[in-house]
Symmetry: C2
Subunit: 205 residues, 2 copies
Amino acid sequence: MAEVDVSFPLFHQQPREGWQTVTDERLFDHPHLSVDRVEALTPHRREQPVPWLVAKRKAAVAIAPVTASGEFVLIPQERIPVGQECLEFPAGQIDGPVADVTCDLVIETAMRELLEETGYALAPGGTLEPLGWFLPSQGFTDEHVYLFKAEPVCVVSRPSPDSSEHISPVRLVSSGELRRMIAAHEITTALTLALYARMAAKGSI
Amino acid sequence: MAEVDVSFPLFHQQPREGWQTVTDERLFDHPHLSVDRVEALTPHRREQPVPWLVAKRKAAVAIAPVTASGEFVLIPQERIPVGQECLEFPAGQIDGPVADVTCDLVIETAMRELLEETGYALAPGGTLEPLGWFLPSQGFTDEHVYLFKAEPVCVVSRPSPDSSEHISPVRLVSSGELRRMIAAHEITTALTLALYARMAAKGSI
């Protein structure tokens, strides 16, 4: 597997001038999802703290893997919360508290999820290009997802997803086919659309 | 305000062959966010129900408004869960249970959120183009967001957002500037990136 050494801005290290959490009460606690009632002061609301319900989640990564022949690697994954199989780029959560996340940990998670979910890995001499992060649902959760393009990738093993997941064999699609599927509303997951948006805006797809 | 009469597939009316919720226990209940422990059978897991924690949310809409001169209307909105101001397209939740959502209700909500958050409305003779839906975080929530492009829009009033929100004056950006901001990772919200991805894939931006 290729060695990767890149750095990029971390979500939790952004400047937060004018933002202050005044109270934070845990209403529901679970390893996969907690719910807090917070009260916060914001740059435009300095007098009276604003109450809000926040679903706390670990940070995550999502990777757009591209083969040497320019095909994208997608996985069909059964997703219980939405009751359907989604065709999406590989992704996964970053273990540990958000405050402890480092660039190395993000990259390590990205490489592991790529391998586990697809059986592909970054080829020697390949590039893991950071594409920033995105916010899945900023109105109710602190979840943020780091984005990468991995190119080229090659098959190194069979996929070995978590036992709680069901992932069908990968699908390799050309850039044109990916575009057609997005235009036809067949690709519906935010992480896949966010990766496509960043790559399209950069002119790299 | 323009009359709009379009129809489009609804999320909750998709075929669900092979999917069956066996148990659904509410662990946390709140008008803005509930958490259920579900057990489900899926097309690939027919024997043993799969347990999963699901954050239940109302459906939502997001709108890419375009002026007659081709500029996109974006709003800077303070978002408590992520502790920052996000530059995003107007969006909002659809009132009522997901099972009761109709095309008319989705459109009505889209037009209302556009007007309340930006002060813009679809111009007479304008088009509200359905761009499907997207799934913000299919691993933990059933939330789904209907997407539209509204063109052309014109100013009809001052914005009047909910008292719980803080939205700064709208920003009008060209297609090229929107693209630059996405490539530079300045636009981070899934709803804005998903709208951009659909429009870019269709070649309409």
